[in-house]
């Protein structure tokens, strides 16, 4: 069994940005994503997770390193000043390189 390096990009943002974020993921060519609701606290206050206006989502997407770069650059340019949001990348290893 061989595992291959790939990049995991994680986005935590307000739920109301959901459509904009998943559209962006499609745009940059991601083959899938995983998403769930979370509570959070940050520069823009506590997001308590009890009504949709004050809930965050956490989106994870596995992409080749180059795509990760594009994705983060577009997040920085188009999203960071508009939405309550953080994003980061980390190195992971997957089995089926061709899937991502």
């Amino acid at each position: 069994m061989n595992s291959h390096p790939m990049t995991l990009v994680t986005i935590v943002c307000e739920k109301l940005a959901r459509e904009a974020v998943t559209r962006l993921l499609r745009d940059v060519g991601a083959h899938g994503w995983t998403l769930w609701e979370v509570e959070g606290s940050g520069a823009q206050g506590v997001r308590s997770g009890d009504i949709p206006e004050f809930t965050n989502i956490r989106v994870e997407v596995i992409v080749p390193p180059a795509v990760a770069g594009t994705l983060l650059a577009r997040l920085e340019k188009e999203f960071f000043k508009r939405y309550a949001m953080i994003a980061y990348e980390s190195e992971i290893r997957v089995i089926r390189r061709e899937k991502f």
Binding site: L16, A20, E37, G45, D50, I51, P52, E53, R82
Partner: protein, 329 residues
């Protein structure tokens, strides 16, 4: 009238629904760990919207469209006029950035279903009759102001150099305004109510009618917590917006009552009409704004709509609008 107003105020403030709202505020200010899970919030929303939709639809089928078209048109008119004047006030008196003024005015032109429901609850409690089909006004008044607000905001952004293509944004805001979950539930249930009629309503009354007032009380407990959490942001939004959050609903509410009276509604109906005008959306409008005007600061519109106007309306506003309606009749 004065004694009536006081009595109505007392009846409203001592109703279980209002007391639960206050309990929610107290729990939050006392830093209790009480919290509704989001699925419960969503469930209560779905329930309240479908329930009033059904009842309103059955009443609509009963009343016939002939009696409804004029106030409906008037409601749409309010949904266009209110955002225009509030935009001007926010922009030129309050000196708010154009995009924030646009987002806020969309909230005040649109409507709050929960405020409307609390109003029907209040009328029922004090035995004041009203047109049950008023739910139809609620349904048509949700979207127009959102579209107006987005247009105002986009033109402002244009002038400040942001040349994002307008078409796509307008289209998605329109889609949100027409197929957003609150509109779909309310309009859908309204149509179901029309089609299924009284018999259909009776079959499901054990769920959609009997427990309704109690469910509303529980929901207002949650809304009290949500509203109280915004109190911390009152300082951030500034004195002007705090004053606006009380003065705007009073002006809109009184104007709405008079217009409702003018288009032939009963005092109860005119009061509901005024309540709709006075209320500020906090479900459909914020969702549409984050989609179409993400540049606007949500702290402004959420704090104003949820932290000031909503509590004001359901406590003091309702009896006030009723007093005006009774005086005008």
């Amino acid at each position: 009238m004065n004694a009536d107003l006081l009595q109505a105020l007392q009846a409203n403030l001592l109703s279980p629904a209002l007391l639960f709202f206050v309990l929610g505020i107290v729990a939050t200010l006392a830093r209790s760990d009480l919290k509704f899970p989001e699925p419960l919030y969503i469930t209560l929303t779905i329930y309240l919207l479908t329930a009033i939709g059904l009842k309103g639809g059955a009443a609509l089928a009963d009343a016939g469209f002939a009696r409804v078209w004029l106030p409906t048109l008037a409601g749409i008119g309010l949904g266009i006029v209110i955002p225009l004047w509030t935009y001007a006030a926010l922009r030129y008196v309050g000196r708010l950035p154009a995009v924030d003024a646009a987002a806020i005015c969309a909230h005040y032109g649109s409507v709050s279903a929960v405020t409307f429901i609390a109003a029907t609850n209040f009328l029922r409690q004090i035995g004041q009759p009203f047109e049950d089909y008023a739910t139809a006004f609620l349904a048509v008044m949700e979207s127009p102001a959102i579209v107006v607000g987005v247009l105002l905001g986009k033109f402002a952004l244009r002038q400040s150099g942001d040349a994002a293509p307008l078409g796509g944004v307008i289209r998605s805001a329109l889609h949100e305004a027409v197929f957003g979950r609150s509109v779909v539930l309310l309009v859908g249930a309204l149509i179901i109510g029309v089609l299924a009629g009284k018999r259909g309503l009776e079959a499901t009354a054990g769920f959609f009618v009997t427990p309704f007032q109690g469910v509303l009380a529980l929901f207002l407990l949650e809304m009290g917590m949500v509203a109280a959490r915004r109190f911390a942001d009152l300082k951030k939004v500034g004195a002007f917006l705090v004053v606006f959050g009380i003065v705007a609903p009073v002006i809109n509410g009184v104007g709405g009552v008079l217009l409702g009276d003018a288009v032939g509604l009963s005092p109860g109906g005119a009061m509901l009409f005024g309540t709709l005008a006075a209320s500020a959306s906090y479900i459909a409008a914020p969702a549409a704004m984050r989609l179409a005007l993400p540049e606007a600061n949500p702290t402004y519109y959420l704090t104003a709509a949820l932290g000031i106007t909503f509590p004001f309306n359901i406590t003091f506003g309702l009896p006030l609008y009723l007093a005006v309606a009774q005086w005008a009749a």
